[in-house]
Amino acid sequence: MPQTTLDTILDGRRSQPHQLIEVLQDVQAQNGYISEEAMRAVSKELGVTLLEVYRVASFYKAFSLSPRGKNVITVCTGTACHVRGAKLLINQATAQIGVETGKMSADGLFTIENVNCLGACALGPVVTTNTDYHHHMSPGKMRKLIKSYQKNNKEEAANE
């Protein structure tokens, strides 16, 4: 991670161990994940032992320790969504993108994750892409959704 962005995150928070989670959240928001170097730097600047930083970062599901794709597709696999075929959605997504759940795709565009409940069981199966919620998903809808993201990315690349 570039030193400048980390500096802006850490500004005014140095040597304040209680700011650990906030700093990690900012790093996560900035980079999409928390790298080993970032953790080492945070540990040094906040005066928290590396173990503590690693422990906190590995404990919360909101923090990712490995790089994540530009678009994070989260499939709910809670009881209600599972019953309504969340497994099919995961199969569709992993096959179409060609990557396991929890890993970043080779082009850096997608990460597929599964969570245990998104709290919208009546609308299941639920899928979120970044911050958008999609209800009553089916493998067909999933295919179109992924296609649309791939198309958007191509257009963006063409415009640049």
Partner: protein
């Protein structure tokens, strides 16, 4: 002189100094409550759950770990009721299923009266008792290893699975680990795990000698300070 309070453990009235845990008070007076994760002079975690007791409060009984229960005036504790024995046997059974390759775990299971293991063997190398973590972060004031992850993924590691720069190689973590003593028959490989019953005829189980510390040799693996070759490493 420290203030003392009276507690009743298994019907015996014990005068124990304030701030002591029920487990320590019981052990000091020769009442054996099986335990595994406790190490004298470092903070208690209540991780192994073996030292559970019944705490009678307002006519109701509450099952709780005695190592984290601090003595209070007039407390009534039962450490060997049928209910406690049943629960403790089950906990010991789960521990053996998790890590059969430890003499400490096998011995404590035998002492708790485990006769068969009804759970699939996992054969892990760690029961997450937290002894190594507590000696490292608490007693020695270093932070080289610790619990990482959550739930099923919880494990003891140094950051990034590398050796920590803070580690002074004092070796206390491995000294205190209950996994360092293999069962007498040698390590069990995957698929060969079993409940070790070698000592059954030689040793007293809790069923035969309820509640009394018999200075059993079982303490050797996990350094029970009542063990004849008692563990004297850390003293206040």
């Amino acid at each position: 002189m420290t203030e003392k309070v009276s507690v009743t453990i298994d019907g015996a009235i014990i005068r124990a100094p304030k701030g002591l845990s029920i487990l320590d008070a019981a052990l000091d007076h020769g009442i054996c409550i099986p335990h595994l994760c406790r190490v004298p002079a470092i903070s208690d975690l209540g991780a192994c759950r073996l030292c559970i007791v019944e705490h009678i409060q307002n006519g109701r009984s509450k099952v709780t770990t005695s190592c984290t229960l601090v003595v209070k005036e007039g407390m009534v504790i039962h450490s060997n009721t049928e209910k406690i024995k049943r629960l403790r046997r089950n906990i010991a059974e789960l521990l053996v299923a998790e890590a059969p390759n430890s003499r400490a775990v096998q011995d404590v299971a035998m002492r708790c009266g485990v006769k068969e293991v009804r759970y699939p063997f996992r054969n892990n190398n760690c029961i997450l008792c937290g002894r190594c973590v507590r000696i490292c972060t608490g007693r020695l004031g270093e932070k080289a290893i610790g619990f990482v992850g959550r739930g099923m993924d919880r494990r003891v590691v140094a950051p990034f699975d590398l050796k920590s720069k803070l580690c002074r190689e004092c070796g206390w973590c491995s000294d205190l680990c209950p996994m360092t003593m293999t069962p007498c028959g040698g390590p069990m490989h995957k698929g060969q795990e079993r409940l070790c019953t070698n000592c059954e005829s030689k040793q007293t189980s809790l069923d035969q000698m309820t509640g009394y510390c018999v200075a059993c040799y079982f303490g050797k693996g996990f350094q029970c300070e009542r063990h004849p070759e008692r563990f004297t490493g850390i003293e206040e």
